[in-house]
């Protein structure tokens, strides 16, 4: 197997040294992930063995069977937490991709009054994290009567500024000729957007998906969700972890599920995501 691309200006010893460095750090990066995978397949006695063991000796699916079993007999079945997380993630991410694309298209392709200011504000919004707005956000939510509903998590996620920024940068590369041709044929702006722009930015959809999905998938509902039957999977995991020993196996199984879905999505979409990110730069 070939490890390196042949390139100019490369000396072999340094290449090998750099690769060793990369491999060591890679190992460090992978430790918790490998551990989480191993844990999920450990039988109960191995989870609590002393001294603790990193790798599983006798892998078993018991934890997953237990997970299915607890699903039925707890007050709020675990399937309900799964369902809540699915709903929030699917609607939040889907809405985000559609709304961000709709807003990105005019900003990328046309100049009109306000377009520059709006984009500057979006860039400014990239510069602070949602923590800054947490408190007034709560007031806005309660004003809208959205506290303790799915909406409190789904709707704000739709206007994630990073998504708009990346989508706009990507759309700028669409050839103007293509849009003009459609316009000459008499297509309306909405039609152009839906039939021509959207199908041509599929790689960018995946990028927005990869950036937004893990945030919603991993949400605990924070301060917005109080009812037990609306809580999310990650919240359930926290409860299981806090409950300690009795459900440690189930906890490890849930942790693995929570962790692997975003990673698998990324593995599947990697090449498209990188294609989009190459246009992510900020120009002067």
């Amino acid at each position: 197997m070939r490890f390196f691309n042949k390139q100019l200006n490369r000396s072999m010893p340094i290449t090998i040294l750099l690769f060793l460095f990369l491999a060591m750090v890679g190992l460090f990066m992978a430790i918790p992930l490998v551990y989480a995978i191993n844990n999920a397949f450990k039988p109960l006695d191995e989870l609590f063995i002393f001294p603790p063991r990193f790798f599983v000796r006798n892998p078993t699916l018991d934890n997953f069977y237990d997970l299915v079993a607890v699903m039925g007999d707890s007050w709020v079945p675990i399937s309900r937490y799964f369902f809540n997380t699915f709903i929030i993630t699917i609607f939040g991410t889907g809405g985000h991709i559609i709304f961000a694309s709709m807003a990105a298209y005019p900003l990328a392709k046309y100049k009109f009054p306000g377009s520059k200011v709006i984009f500057q504000i979006v860039i400014l919004a990239l510069m602070f994290s949602p923590h800054v707005t947490a408190i007034p956000n709560y007031l806005v939510m309660s004003g809208l009567g959205w506290i303790d509903t799915y909406l409190s998590l789904i709707i704000p996620a739709m206007a994630f500024p990073l998504g708009l920024f990346l989508m706009k940068q990507f759309m700028e590369q669409l050839p103007d000729a293509m849009l003009e041709a459609a316009k000459i044929d008499g297509a309306s702006e909405f039609r152009i957007f839906w039939k021509i722009v959207m199908p041509n930015v599929k790689p960018a959809w995946l990028t927005l998906l990869i950036l937004q999905f893990p945030i919603l998938w991993g949400t605990t509902g924070g301060n917005f969700i109080y009812s037990e039957e609306l809580k999310t999977l990650n919240y359930a995991l926290e409860q299981i972890t806090e409950a300690g020993i009795a459900r440690a196996g189930v906890g490890a199984a849930v942790a693995l599920i929570l962790m692997s879905v975003p990673i698998i999505l990324f593995i599947l979409s990697q090449s498209k995501v990188i294609e989009t990110m190459s246009s992510s730069g900020m120009k002067d």
Partner: protein
């Protein structure tokens, strides 16, 4: 066709107007043109509307509200009361815990910001040299922690303070320490552990942007450079790669800076809330303390405003500096 106002205002050309009235009519003209441009762009406004309404409600309104509320005393029950700069003077002069939080946050940002930024670039750069299949694999390994959700709780087990903790176990096995170290309960170590874990999951969006930037780098530049006397990878990195990646580098800086100031979840998960003697207390955890536990909304808003200024200010300064590099 660009939606600019293509047609010249014909009246300007056809009717000569006296100088005195000209200025006035020009201003009127400008308004009319703006109106016409806006009318022409109505489809664009309509397309942007859904995103912008949500963005306005949950980003712009909160930032403004936070700024306004920071001058009030407000506990969610009584009407807000205007108190001027009181919240700020209390914050900077009377709140020792805030000073600890601010110091921790700055220390934190000063370490994780630059280190994670450079790490993102260096690893992207090395990974880019690999053959496509291995490159894809390594990208997943390095990027995965940032999207794996709360898998960082595994670090809790590794740094666990009893002999069950892996690190303690290994160190004791090797005879380096005799007694288990309370990694997460000892002021001496806790901030360091939080920084380490934060670095572990900080190879996120900017890392991807760098990988992407490197992959689309114009190969002919490198060949041209070789003719011009570039002999090794370091020269190539400095004279060709870095300058041509400036847009991605600017974007990555914004991402990493914002992230490095916002540490809270990791600190809470690892060090607890509040942490021992506030050793891992940050501005964000301080904000949570006042906003979600004590319900002193005015005071919490002042904290949020300071955090906002810190983040945006640092970003602006760094953007300016980075723009200067290589010009």
């Amino acid at each position: 066709m660009k939606a600019k106002s293509m047609e010249q205002p014909i009246d300007d050309i056809v009717y000569p107007i006296k100088e005195a009235t000209r200025k006035q009519s020009k201003r009127k003209d400008k308004w009319q043109r703006l109106k016409r441009d806006m009318k022409k762009a109505r489809h664009y406004y309509l397309l942007m509307l859904p995103f912008m309404i949500i963005f306005f409600l949950f980003t712009i309104v909160p930032v403004v509200a936070s700024f306004v509320l920071s001058f009030f005393s407000f506990n969610m029950l009584e009407m807000p009361q205007f108190v001027g700069w009181d919240n700020y003077s209390r914050l900077f002069l009377g709140d020792d815990v805030f000073m600890t939080a601010l110091r921790n946050t700055l220390l934190f940002a000063a370490i994780t910001g630059p280190v994670s930024y450079i790490a993102c670039f260096i690893f992207a750069w090395i990974i880019n040299e690999l053959s496509p299949k291995i490159r894809a694999f390594m990208t997943v390994i390095f990027y995965a922690p940032s999207i794996a959700g709360n898998v960082f709780f595994i670090w809790l087990i590794i740094f666990s303070g009893d002999t069950y903790g892996y690190l303690n176990g290994i160190l004791m096995e090797l005879g380096i320490i005799l007694e288990p170290i309370q990694w997460l309960r000892d002021e001496q170590y806790v901030l360091g552990v939080v920084i380490l874990v934060q670095l572990w999951l900080s190879l996120g969006t900017s890392f991807l942007a760098f990988i992407a930037g490197l992959q689309t780098l114009d190969k002919s530049l490198i060949e041209a450079g070789a003719i011009d006397g570039i002999r090794n990878r370091w020269q190539e990195l400095w004279y060709i790669t870095l300058p041509s990646m400036k847009p991605q580098l600017l974007f990555g800086a914004v991402m990493q800076i914002t992230q490095s100031f916002a540490v809270a979840d990791i600190s809470i998960a690892l060090a607890g809330f509040p942490s021992v003697n506030y050793a891992a207390h940050t501005v964000v955890t301080h904000l949570m303390d006042y906003g979600t536990i004590r319900f002193e909304m005015g005071y919490a808003s002042a904290i949020a405003t300071v955090l906002f200024l810190l983040m945006v200010g640092t970003n602006m300064v760094v953007q300016k500096l980075l723009r200067k590099v290589g010009t």
